[in-house]
């Protein structure tokens, strides 16, 4: 019987070596080590052995079994790895085929710029106020120190609905409306995004466009604070190395007033076509709130001061994205929109 076992082992090992697939090995295992397997068959004859022989044969049988089991496990492992390799190899795909998820949309560049401006100022503690686009002459002009027949009205040729009602020419009326609500409390810290309307239509003007207005009123607000807030804004909006430059200007509702330039986003201040070789780009108008505007809004200019600023969103978007014709922003061509 020991002979039998040895022969079996030899034969089995040879057969095992010939196995190429996992299934072959499993079939082999059943054939030799299964309930009706050859080794089992041999061991059935154990009963006929003498008690002396039994432990010896039993040990040998176990050795044969263990050895085969060991070899099977080893082979299975090798074969599995090989088969996995083959499968992975056969499953490789053309990764260059297009993706299948649906295309996402795009936000309009103007609304993106507005959101970005909002977020920068929210970070500085400003809240967002809005107001009607159809506005009373009073809020659009008079409450902002632009009485009837004031030459400054020429700066803003308006669309009128009635002699007293017009499409707002700037977001500044919301300054006056807000002051009416908040007086006499401070601080007032608002920005006002929105549509505005002027009678102009060419490559650099649109009869409808967007502005963001800012207003801060508190005790001890200084012109230097305006510079700081605007510098902070410019750096977040256009890059950490931005510089700003303030030039004296005139707005009826601020005094002192300033035009604010940023260093040219195209040439970084060296001078190029975009900035007419000056290195600077005019980006917004600003100033200290005129005492008369504070008075009309219900604040005492001896107790509080404030600053205000306003910028054209189209201008910011055009500079930020290199758009050279304002009309593109309102044509809504998908080939344009898709780029944002």
């Amino acid at each position: 019987m020991q002979e039998q076992l040895r022969a079996l082992k030899e034969k089995a090992e040879q057969e095992l070596q010939a196995c190429q697939k996992v299934e072959d090995v499993q079939e082999f295992r059943v054939r030799y080590l299964g309930k009706k397997g050859e080794l089992t068959q041999i061991l059935r004859g154990m009963g006929q052995l003498s008690p002396e022989e039994r432990p010896v044969v039993g040990q040998l049988a176990n050795e044969v079994r263990d050895s085969l089991e060991g070899k099977i496990a080893q082979l299975l492992e090798t074969l599995k790895v090989k088969e996995l390799e083959q499968r992975l190899l056969s499953e490789s795909i053309d990764i260059t085929l297009p993706g299948t998820a649906a295309e996402i949309g795009r936000q309009h560049p103007l609304s993106m710029v507005i959101e970005e401006i909002e977020e920068i100022f929210m970070g500085m503690g400003f809240t967002i106020e809005e107001g009607p686009e159809i506005e009373l002459d009073y809020y659009n002009f008079e409450a902002l120190n632009i009485p009837k027949d004031h030459p400054a009205r020429d700066m803003q040729d308006s669309f009128y609905l009635t002699p007293e009602v017009l499409l707002r020419t700037h977001t500044s009326p919301v300054q006056a409306r807000t002051m009416e609500k908040t007086k006499p409390h401070v601080p007032v810290k608002i920005i006002v995004p929105g549509k505005v309307y002027r009678r102009d239509d060419d490559a650099t003007h649109s009869p409808m466009f967007h502005q963001v207005e800012g207003l801060m009123i508190d005790k001890n607000i200084r012109f230097s604070d305006l510079k700081g807030v605007l510098l902070n804004f410019a750096r977040q909006m256009f890059g950490a190395d931005q510089k700003i430059r303030l030039r004296p200007s005139f707005f009826p509702f601020t005094e002192p007033s300033a035009e604010v330039d940023i260093s040219c986003v195209m040439c970084k201040g060296v001078g190029c076509r975009t900035c007419s070789q000056t290195g600077w780009l005019e980006i917004l108008g600003a100033g200290m709130v005129h005492p008369r505007v504070l008075e009309m809004g219900g604040y005492n200019p001896e107790e509080v001061t404030g600053f205000a600023f306003g910028m054209g969103v189209e201008r910011v978007a055009m500079l930020k994205y290199g758009i050279d014709d304002m009309r593109l922003l309102f044509e809504n061509d998908v080939r344009f929109l898709r780029q944002f």
Binding site: L97, A102, E103, G105, R106, Q107, H108, S111, E115, G123, M124, F126, T127, I128, E130, P132, E133, I134, D149, P151, D154, F159, Y160, L161, V165, L167, V186, P187, K189, K195, Y197, D201, P207, M208, M216, D218, K219, N220, I221, R222, F223, S224, D225, K227, G228, V229, L246, R247, P248, S249, E255, P256, M288, P291, L329, E331, N332, D333, R335, L337
Partner: protein
Amino acid sequence: MLVSWKWLKELVEIEKTPEELADLLTMSGVAVDGIIYPSIELRNLKVGLIEEISPHPNADKLLICRVDIGEGEKRTIVTGAQNVQAGHKVPVALPGAVLTGGKSIESAELRGIQSDGMLCSARELGMDEDKLSPEQKEGIYLLPDDVTVGADVVQVLNLDDLVLELDLTPNRADCLGMWNVAREVAALTGGKLRLPEVEGSTEEGTCAGMTRVEIQNEELCNRYVARIVKDVRIAPSPLWMQQRLMAAGVRPINNVVDVTNYVMMETGQPLHSFDYDRLRENRIVVRRAREGEEIVTLDGQRRQLNPEMLVIADAERPVALAGVMGGQETEVTEQTKTILLESASFNGPSIRRTSHALGLRSESSLRFEKTVDVQLVRWAADRAVQLLSQIGAGMAVDGCVDCYPGRPPQEEPLHFQAPKFYLAKSHLPKAFSWADNIDTPFAGAEQGLSGQQGERPPFAQEGEFEIKELSEEFPEEQMPQELWFRGRPVIRLRFRRVNEILGTKIKPVEMETILQALQITFLEKDREGWWVAPPSYRRDLEREVDLVEEIARLYSYERIPTTLPEGVTTQGQRNTEQQIRYRVRKNMVAQGLMEVINYSFINKARLERLGYPAGHPFGDMVVVKNPLSEEQAVMRTCLLPGLLDTVKRNLNKRNKNLRFFEVGKIFRAEGFPEQRKLPEEEWCLGAVATGKREKSWAYGAEEYDFYYLKGVIANLLTGLGYGAEDFALAAVQDYPGLHPGRAATILLKGRPIGVLGEVHPLVLEEFEIDQRVVTFSIDLPQLWADEEVSRKVLLVPVTKFPAISRDLAILVPEEITAAEVEKLIREQANEWLKEVRLFDLYRGQQIQENWKSLAFSLTWQAPDKTLTDEEVNIFHQKIEEALAARFGAGLRR
């Protein structure tokens, strides 16, 4: 304002280059938009005298000129021009000269005659033809007789001058006069002023006997000065004057007109000249026009007048539109012997209204609108008379008539220079209550102020001050009265206030230097500040804060520090409405739609193409009175026309698969303007989709149809926090612009919030769109009322017991809607039914006509146990029975 560099340099000493000065002006508030350089550097141009002209032997159209250019020998020059004669002085380009347009001149043979140069036209010299008379434009430019033969034409014609283009803000209208530009330059650079002296007139003298002036409407005209010049000889003005006018953008006409324009350019004060003899009774009445009066203005237009307009009249009729334009009947002509010169100050707003009403804007109205310096009015008249005499245009009649109703006790002298010392305290009127606050004048010595008591001559007399009534705009406790000095407001300026507003630490002595450079008069001072009066020509300086700006701009904005506000910290955030609009945008973008922004105003006809019935809110339009075009004539009452236009524009460019959304306002009159309230403005979300998601290698095409947008709405609402069950549609048959069989009201928790549908084929036809378009719109305020959207999410525990999924395919008649079937399924189930999903809709061969198969996938799950098949079967049994009973539905297996 165009500023001739040479002219400016004559008025003020300048050491800077034009570019440096331009930069300095820009950075201190008088923006220089650009510098106009001479177009080309002209060389080798001499003044030539034509001594002899003969016809060219070989060419009919050419002439041979013998020209003296001051070099002894005469030159032979061939010309084709017909306007030259012997004795004319002309510009001659010598060989080697380069003319405008790059033409270079050489000696050349012209039809057998050697030509040794060329006679030049104005264009060849680079002169602005718009500023020339027709005669000057044609042919050779003829020079006046008094120029020197052989002189450099560039010098004679000032062709090397350059011009600064000022872009003036409305407050700096003073810089519409060269004198004031020079003053600004002097203040900025310290350069010495060299303004021309003017001989002042008195009110005695001959003039007063020759004319009378009556101002009937003092509210519209607060000063009118008349002067008379006799023995007038109309002729061209001298070359230097013409050149300066051209540099300033004004076309020379004749000596009288040129002088009035020249003085306007010098001083900023517009003048007008009348033919004295044509004024009835030789007198002037300043009054409102009478109803029905008319005037023919200088441009030949007959104009209807009304009492809103101020006119200059003679004894009988209007002879000029005050401050806007003169009348033809009293125009100065070749025949004029005597002129009456007008220099006046008119009410700016009134001039503005008149010039707007008549659509007539002139250099004159432009200046009056912004209010001229009333104290300069007489000086300007005197200056004009002086120049007319100087250039031989006529003989001054001595004296003037000066009608000045609100004349202050004393006027500012011409070319006023503020004295460099303070005025004595005692000179401030006692009646003026501010004076009580003055404790120790000149106590500021420790602050480094330059005022020295010993140097103070008695400059201001008490009589120079004037106390005016309280101005209504100021709170009573702050300014009980206004103090005026020589017709200018006295302004309190506090040192501390300057630095408080600017955030600076400017020393009073620095402020003083700046204010002095601006010719501001110091009237008084105390520990805290000054009382000052600005010069008369700076009418924009009215309050303390105006002076703060003056200090800031001359100190330089660049030198003001950069700080951050020091107040309490506040929280920046969007309110609910703003958050919802923000989330709506993000949601739509995530779903693949592109945001568009359309104009708020649209063409009324395009809106009407939607075909709404009378009384429909779409027709409740707000109309723009003065639109730029019909395309922008009414405010949109819905977003659809703009979205369809966007679709059309894109289709034209071959973009055919389109999904757009817009978040914007719509406008409805709601009683405006009859009821005294503003129209309604409402935030709206609109979307359109057309075409399809194109078939790809991996999946089939997907139409952008009704169901596509329905899914978008469902995603939007769940994204905002609503439950799937909150959203439903209800069919509508008659929504304007929509396909009657494919339109629905969007219901959110049972209330209508908008509409979804396919655009009506007729509307598509109107918009010239030849593919189906679907659209929806949602009234956004309907969302911001709901709690769901601002609700904090509270997690419902995810059950750990497995779900059972069962399919159910049933046959129902065509008219039964999916929603009815689903409703019935839900009625028969209990809370274990988690989801009912329609996954197939089939009509076709195996099914009888007018029936359809609906296949649902039902998901069952219990929170507390694993469901068995038997438990679910019970419900399916019930559902099948109910469906059969209600709809006659059969199961499809």
